[in-house]
Symmetry: C2
Subunit: 455 residues, 2 copies
């Protein structure tokens, strides 16, 4: 029999990695809850009718489809079987697919539960999603998203709180060198008006979004090919190229956007977000008003965000923005505006590994291993174990009677930080040999002293 393997693009998470991942998840969950977001979980499977048509043609192709149970060919005529192509056939033999993101299931949930929900509705959702992408570095076929959205209000405190939550999460994770880029759909529209690119907005935004990667030369080349004049591009780069403070960027654009309603609205919103940050007692440290930030455009209508951890190989770890109609795709007539963002845990994990930021005690294992010389001390150890656990201390006893060396090797391999070594002396006196496995030091302590020391 061949050795088993994992499906391409998927991973096991063993104990050491799980401990670090749980540290990130717990941090994000804690911050979401502190900001008043409530948990939601949706099924891994959705009807294909819920999923298709929501992610563009490329996204539809990346959906994992689930074969109907039982005789899935029952209702497919034999001639259809050979005359249709794979794509057409797939919809006849599959009704369900795996969740591709958390936004569409959230929208589906809101549509189905509209009358029970108290709006504004603040929900967070931490679940895996699946995409049939070609696996590559930092691109997996199963990965977690951590989303928080507020729907049912236009208030810009939601935008301000997204910034605060990102800052809070990063502070707790000890990530210090990062940039929260913010822009506004209205500012982009103003920019397009300014350089007279109406009707060619998409080409413009797609190009400038790549400024970081391909530089001014690359963007100019792409836009010239799309028919932009050099003079309009000079105007564009006069704005994009100069790094200014958020306030002076805003001041500059205010003079330029005098005749653009969309541009003025965008600037006003952004200014208000910065003012609100100050009302919270925070400021725009780590926040950069980036006129070139565009993100996916079909969906967002107000502020947009992207978060980059600096000086790591894959730094883009979070993004989001405001939309004015969450449930539109389900034909809902009542508009429901909102704003949300998403943390990519896998990328935060990779960045933290690269920066060596995980706390040493993130390893989830027993704090104490009880070792023993004979059956008497073994049985005595069980009572000790029970007392330690009663005090909330994770611990275990080496389950078999074996040499002390083997027991201590096990503690080292599992990175258990302390051991208790029990023999007939300890059983008699209650003075237990307590060993710090990292320092190599040991001392005699009573069980009460040990509990006090570890708590």
């Amino acid at each position: 029999m061949e050795k088993p393997t994992l499906p391409k693009g998927t991973r096991d998470f063993g104990p050491a990695v799980m401990a670090k991942r749980q540290f990130i998840f717990d941090t994000i969950r804690k911050v979401f809850q502190t900001y008043g977001f409530m948990p939601l979980e949706t099924p891994s499977m959705e009807n294909l009718s819920t999923l298709t048509g929501k992610y563009g043609e490329e996204g539809d192709q990346l959906l994992f489809k689930i074969l109907n149970s039982g005789d899935f060919l029952k209702d497919v005529p034999k001639d259809k079987l050979t005359s249709t192509n794979a794509k057409q056939l797939s919809f006849q033999i599959c009704e369900k697919g795996l969740r591709y993101d958390l936004t569409v299931p959230f929208a589906r949930y809101v549509v189905m539960n509209r009358h029970e929900i108290a709006f504004p509705f603040k929900r967070y959702q931490i679940q895996p999603v699946w995409r049939g992408d070609r696996p590559a570095k930092a691109r997996y076929r199963e990965f977690y998203q951590c989303d928080a959205d507020v729907v049912g209000t236009d208030s810009l405190i939601c935008e301000a709180e997204i910034i605060l939550m990102i800052k809070d999460v990063f502070q707790r994770l000890a990530i210090t060198d990062y940039t929260i880029k913010i822009n506004h759909r209205g500012v982009l529209a103003g920019l397009a008006e300014l350089i007279e690119a109406q009707g060619k907005e998409t080409s413009l935004f797609v190009a400038i979004d790549k400024l970081d990667k391909i530089g001014e030369e690359g963007v100019r080349k792409e836009l010239v090919e799309k028919g932009f004049s050099n003079s309009s591009l000079d105007k564009l780069f006069a704005i994009l190229n100069v790094k200014r403070s958020n306030a002076s960027q805003s001041a500059l654009l205010t003079t330029k956007f005098e005749s653009s309603d969309a541009g003025k609205k965008g600037l006003m919103d952004l200014k208000e977000v910065f003012i609100l940050l100050e009302s919270y007692g925070s400021d725009d440290t780590n926040v950069e008003f980036d006129v070139a930030l565009a993100r996916g455009l079909s969906y967002y209508t107000g502020c947009i965000f992207e978060v980059k951890i600096n000086n790591v190989s894959i730094g883009s770890v979070s993004g989001g923005g405001r939309y004015d109609n969450l449930t539109q795709a389900f034909g809902d007539k009542e508009k429901l505006s909102g704003v949300g963002f998403s943390f990519g845990v896998d990328r935060i994990f990779d960045a933290m590994e690269e920066l060596n930021l995980f706390p040493k005690n993130a390893q989830v294992s027993s704090k104490i291993l009880i070792c023993h010389f004979d059956d008497e001390s073994f049985r005595y150890g069980l009572g000790i174990l029970n007392q330690l656990r009663g005090a909330g201390i994770a611990c275990e006893i080496y389950p078999d009677h074996t040499k002390l060396k083997k027991q201590l090797d096990y503690a080292n391999k599992k990175m258990v930080p302390f051991t208790l070594v029990l023999g007939s002396d300890e059983v008699k006196s209650g003075q237990l040999t307590f060993k710090d496995m990292n320092k190599g030091e040991q001392e005699k302590l009573t069980i009460d002293q040990i509990i006090e020391k570890l708590n």
Copy 2:
């Protein structure tokens, strides 16, 4: 456009239900960790070659298969398409399936990582599994399992600790009326020898396992049809029918099993488990040596467990047992024995709802909602919000300017227990109106007093 729906047998978990589920998950995870178990997560998808043949023919039919990405018909000859049946075709167009339980992925993980693992390996795993069962009450197509297994040791403290963990979890969940049934494969073998049912063990065990449901008469009828004599059934029920204490059940069987090696081994193991419980400072309260407990037999080789919450509609919430070769199904030659058990969270949830056991504060929402009369108090409130969050208190501000009544209605609907009502008086004096929404009482407090009160 039609209103979206959920796939059959799947569920959304909204905030109120999520809070309760998280309470159960957190409790189980905490207990697993306290007993030295380490977390593992495996992918939702496994290769079908990993999954098939592990769950019997019926299980294979319940596997959800995932359609291969892209042109899944590419390598299927046209004539094959029409000449093969659905089952055969499914393996040509699907390579992957969804996880059906947590044991097979665990075994697959152990086989793939054998040389890095420190044995005895204590792992826990809390993840959903998928089964294409016909949906029914308390039977879902996606549900969570919470498994803990120790592999690489024959020590009976593992069995004792399973009992201790179940007791610990139930104590934390305030479940008091429950029974942990325990039996041993050896005892069942001894029973079969005693009534001379060798060669008909499976029929015997399948029948007596149903004693709870169909009663003595039903079991007798089934076994008579399978060719058992009335005299052997009298012998059987002389043991099954009389409820005895664990100790006297054990004493009785010791006299009966004099000539059965398997039976004697089973009794010895069980006695040792009860002795170990006492060494831990525990006892056999809530534990019942049930000779009729059989469970799935192909897999287990030692002690077997089943846990029933009494006086609820679906009480069986946990089960497990010892096996002597976890990785056998993957053709592994080195035997790896272990023991494990699994909590069914959905059933524990239903039982706790039925018994009204969830703590009232299980609702995850903000502890405080800040309400405001005007823009000045709104902005003042943002600073208050920041101080509360800094103290770890989950809170939010009503994001829009609207009537106080609407703000308070929102707090009530979300079950937020406290509100702060801010107006110009509060902004001037710093004496904030703090309202207990359950009691309807309010008082004037400073922000420091409020933080002290809530922490």
